[in-house]
Symmetry: C2
Subunit: 162 residues, 2 copies
Amino acid sequence: MARKKKILATPEPIRPGDEDLGEIRNIVGFHIRLAQGAVYRHFTEAFTSLDLTQKQVSMLWLVGDHPQIAQSDLARRMRMDRATTMAVVNRLEARNLLERQPSPNDGRKHALYLTDDGNQVLSSAKALINQHEEWLKSRFSDAEVSTLIELLSRIHGWFPTD
Amino acid sequence: MARKKKILATPEPIRPGDEDLGEIRNIVGFHIRLAQGAVYRHFTEAFTSLDLTQKQVSMLWLVGDHPQIAQSDLARRMRMDRATTMAVVNRLEARNLLERQPSPNDGRKHALYLTDDGNQVLSSAKALINQHEEWLKSRFSDAEVSTLIELLSRIHGWFPTD
DNA sequence: TATTGTTATACTCTATAACTATA
DNA sequence: TATAGTTATAGAGTATAACAATA
């Protein structure tokens, strides 16, 4: 069930004059969206071979870290609603990377766990993530990376605990 | 051609224990995606009445600032490819907020401009954006806002010129 | 009643590919 | 040849709504 998509288009290069964005350049939300777009494109190119999206990798990662996690727990941690979570889980299950089990404690919940394929793919994905993050972090000092994560955490509500 | 969607679901509140994100908390891309998601949800709630997306508002704003702009110019400034730009322009044109004119200089290009409705909607949108940005910026000092914009600009490639 | 998972439905964004018209 | 716009197609993410099973 592979995607037909082959190579990802990168935006056309900036031309002289394009820099003038007007007042919109002071809108924080605009910059977050553009940054997410840039990261998304680089991520998708990096993961062409594995054919995984940001969301799918995040989910594999979290299930790997928390075996037997329920979908509702996943949804809260990834800040998604149940229906969206369902869609992502379905895709990963269809590719035999992840499976559902009945939860022993709560009949309403399903416990999620990675298959052998899922563990193997996650391992490859983490290696690719490291390369992708290197591309992303290379423009920042370590202190700037910490600052950026801290500022972004204030927006999405997670506070990394070291 | 209004959307059927009425009210937007917000993610369920965080529970004790959810804070443990494991190694993934050090991934910058993960935080950018979560932050964009939070901003997206608040934006969509704020723009329920106007029924506009982030992309649509950005486009109206840029066309308002640069009348007669061509789609290809818009695409470069918003870091989108032509097909995606086309889709957004089509939606705005279908709602009579924006129109295409043949460009006087270059027969290949179409000049875009806002209709009277478009100008009116943009005006309302800017007022809503100010409220939305206030929500976003309230958690930062002015210096932190500048820092955040500067750091994000290094990712998406735009360097605000004051 | 509340929670969890599920299914059906729909819209936006993003992108590829191929085509036409113009420069 | 290169650029600009267009159309067709498709996958992923996001969401609403309604339902069944369980707590």
